[in-house]
């Protein structure tokens, strides 16, 4: 579980996060949504410890990040998996080496144990035959899956994904979304996904946090997002005709 308490983050004069509080639970996929530029990536990077908020704090299963020693911080980070917006695979390594990398860095496993584990997670993301390809030879969807495999290979307790399905076709996007959800439930991970895709919200959003201009404008479940009267949310959700239609049908059904 991750508890976020009133975090603020600025870059120079630009106040990007203006006091956000929320909680993310274990074994659930939580979605952070909002328009481009609303601060989703900055928020996620604060959760990862890549940015330090000027105000407020973050607790990981009861441990306050700011109070940890450097060693404890490093141990905590070894328990985090991250899927970056652009995959961020190491381009000098093969796909297999990319996936084995966290194991090489943080475990004392033998080469064959690492290989077995990497094989296992690569199969888990449906990449059986790409082990020896370089990342540049893989398609965008494959790269995303490798990034997911690398993020989960060392059995993380926390998984962060920054727009894991941006730039993918709708079908592959849904496959990736569901993959993340399954893995979250299977290994009881606290998973947080940045997205601006309503399809993802519909598929896997167990908890949704809506950001606007650095503030939490709304939070709730995917069922509630279609019922809310919060204008900021409806504005975003019903920007597409498809969802306008869905809402209309829902309201008609309700009578």
């Amino acid at each position: 579980m991750i508890e976020v308490k009133n975090i603020h983050k600025s870059f120079g004069d630009a106040h990007i996060l203006k006091g956000i509080s929320t909680t993310f639970e274990k074994g659930k996929t939580s979605l952070v949504i909002g328009q481009s530029g609303s601060g989703k990536t900055v928020f996620l990077k604060c959760l990862l410890g890549l940015f330090t908020p000027e105000e407020g704090g973050i607790e990981y299963d009861g441990k306050i990040y700011a109070n940890l020693t450097d060693d404890e911080k490093r141990n905590l980070r070894a328990k985090m998996g991250m899927v970056f917006q652009g995959s961020a695979l190491f381009d000098s390594m093969t796909i297999l080496e990319n996936v084995m990398f966290p194991l090489r860095m943080f475990t004392k496993q033998s080469k064959s144990e690492m290989q077995d584990r990497a094989d296992f997670v690569l199969n888990r993301v449906n990449l059986e035959n790409a082990h020896n390809k370089m990342p540049s030879e893989a398609s965008g969807g494959m790269q995303k899956r490798v990034a997911i495999a690398r993020a989960i290979v060392n059995k993380p307790k926390y998984l962060f994904c920054d727009e894991p399905n941006s730039g993918l076709d709708p079908k592959t996007a849904i496959v990736i979304d569901n993959l993340i959800k399954e893995i979250t439930e299977e290994y009881n991970i606290t998973t947080i996904i940045n997205s601006h895709d309503m399809n993802s919200v519909m598929e896997i959003g167990e908890k949704i946090v809506f950001l606007k201009d650095g503030l939490k404008a709304w939070e709730g479940s995917k069922e509630n997002i279609f019922k809310t009267d919060n204008e900021v949310v409806t504005d975003f959700v019903y920007s597409s005709n498809l969802f306008k239609k869905v809402r209309q049908m829902y309201l008609e059904e309700k009578g």
Partner: protein
């Protein structure tokens, strides 16, 4: 102001580079890879340049000595001195600032732009140690490259004497042996070590702390070349003043 800031964060980077060392089994492969990229990969161009510039130095000296009172072995002497003291350590280092330096800046810069450095840091890895330290160790073999440059430079001079007919080989060999001061070699290698350090760290600095996209990677490589060269030239001046003038 921004110069001071850059110099300050450059030294902080160097301190950070030695902290939280990466696991040795991983570091070993990184070092071997960097030796291959930075040292072995440079031998060809260094050999080519040294041989031909050595030849040219000899030809120029020979053509400019028309006074019959000046002994012919001076050609060999002048070639040896200019190659060992300046050409091999300094001139080759400037070329390396272009070759090795822009390679380092662009490869680290690309990792920054594509968030690979963030990925390392998220995992709790000291990215500076992981990326810069192996380059620093690999470039400790740089004096080996410079020895080859010295040897081939003089060999190039010798070839110019033989094929260009500028005096006799005996005179040239007498020249390269005469008045030899062993400290000059020490001086040259002290410079080489210092330049190796600059070549590993300044381009890394510009790559590591760059911001922006692919275009900025190109700009960072250029800036890194300029400042590495400036640092080499300045330290060359300071070290020469300190070590040779008495």
């Amino acid at each position: 102001m921004s110069y001071l800031h850059n110099i300050g964060s450059y030294f902080l980077m160097i301190a950070e580079m030695f902290r939280k060392p990466t696991k040795w089994s991983v570091m070993r492969t990184l070092i071997l890879k960097d030796i291959d990229d930075l040292i072995i990969g440079s031998l060809g161009i260094v050999a080519f340049i040294s041989f031909f510039v050595g030849g040219v130095v000899t030809i120029q000296t020979a053509l400019n000595i028309s006074n019959p009172l000046i002994p012919k072995y001076l050609i060999g002497f002048a070639t040896r001195q200019s190659i060992i003291l300046e050409f091999a350590p300094t001139f080759i280092s400037i070329i390396m600032a272009g070759k090795v330096g822009s390679f380092i800046t662009s490869s680290i810069g690309t990792m920054r732009v594509t968030e690979q450095i963030d990925a390392l840091e998220v995992m709790g890895i000291n990215a500076l140690n992981y990326l810069v330290f192996p380059k620093f160790i690999a470039l400790m073999l740089y004096p080996f490259v410079i020895s080859i440059a010295m040897f081939l430079g003089i060999l190039g001079g010798m070839a110019a004497v033989i094929f260009g007919g500028f005096g006799t080989l005996e005179d040239f060999i007498t020249g390269i042996q005469i008045d030899f001061i062993p400290f000059h070699i020490i001086y040259a290698f002290i410079k080489t070590f210092v330049f190796a350090f600059l070549l590993a760290t300044i381009p890394s600095y510009y790559g590591f702390y760059m911001k922006g996209g692919a275009l900025e990677v190109g700009k960072a490589s250029t800036t890194s070349f300029v400042w590495t060269s400036v640092a080499i030239i300045l330290l060359n001046y300071i070290l020469t003043q300190l070590l040779l003038s008495t």
